[in-house]
Symmetry: C2
Subunit: 183 residues, 2 copies
């Protein structure tokens, strides 16, 4: 039987990786199609297609029990997810000003996120593992490749969180087996 | 008794208006504080504060029964919300190129959104009123003020939807009574 979900993404595209992490986490089988064009990633399910990666991640998180247990908890997770999106948007916006991003934007966000993790028993929200932890751990390699060194080394709580996510057995084996360009 | 929610926003800020629309829709009492500074809007509830407006809107939408009835329905709504956010981001990015925004970006999005409304029984998602309809109707005046004319006049399905939202009695009386600068 074909998997109930089909994920269509760019060859080597990073946005889909956040969704794969969640499917892997929950041992949900999905068809992983990669193409060189289009507005991607797209999730297909029961004949319907959706093309917004954060929304897809939020949906999959619910299926794999990494969402909040009520509306307010989901709001707390969402707020951190949006903060990560803000950081990504600011990095893009100031592409020409690498120094500004490196010396101001990234430290501004990571200092605050590190403090949040310290207060939240090692997690970004709710004091337990939620999808924003996976979302974060999955985004970090992009930041790292941008600044060409391990950016989290100055943020011990974030670094520990990243390692914690990478140590989840299904995520660990996914990272080890997936093509490097994918990540 | 003090209201269970406090919404803290900029004087004249538009992002909070999307949240007010939802509180008004559901007849939920809230304290509406406006300040001239900070990362706003902020929603305060049970002593906790959250500062991401789209996440807040999603949460309030659930409280006023304008969300989907299951996870997939919420994904369908979210995807359209994110498309509206994309449009806003592109407008900002190309601030210097008003002509490009006016002649390319806005028509690209509005044509597609208009077609979606036509297919969805007059709504942006699920064929019925959801929070993305209110979110959209509330954002339109910003686009309009940017291009200085009624941008929706070329998009009859979107125009009808806007009018439908504005005709909801609680929204109608909110619009009529709120300070113009707020909108």
């Amino acid at each position: 039987m074909a998997p109930a979900y089909k994920l269509i993404s760019f060859n080597g595209g990073g946005a889909a990786e956040r969704i794969r992490f969640l499917f892997k986490y929950g041992n949900i089988d999905f068809e992983d199609l990669q193409t060189p064009f289009g507005q991607l990633p797209v999730l297909e399910h029961n004949g319907k297609q959706i093309n917004q990666s954060v929304s897809i991640a939020r949906y999959v998180a619910k299926q794999v029990k990494l969402a909040g247990k009520d509306d307010w908890e989901n709001l707390e997770i969402d707020a951190i997810v949006n903060t990560l999106s803000d950081l990504r948007a600011r990095r893009k916006k100031k592409k020409a000003l690498k120094e500004t991003v490196l010396n101001e934007t990234i430290p501004y966000y990571l200092t605050r996120l590190d403090a949040i993790v310290q207060k939240n028993k090692g997690h970004l929200a709710l004091g337990r593992l939620t999808w924003v932890d996976l979302y974060f751990a999955c985004s970090v390699p992009n930041y790292t490749s941008f600044v060409r060194n391990d950016i989290l080394s100055k943020y011990p709580n974030l670094k520990t969180l990243q390692n914690k996510v990478y140590a989840i057995s299904v995520i660990k084996s996914w990272i080890e087996t997936c093509p490097k360009t994918e990540f």
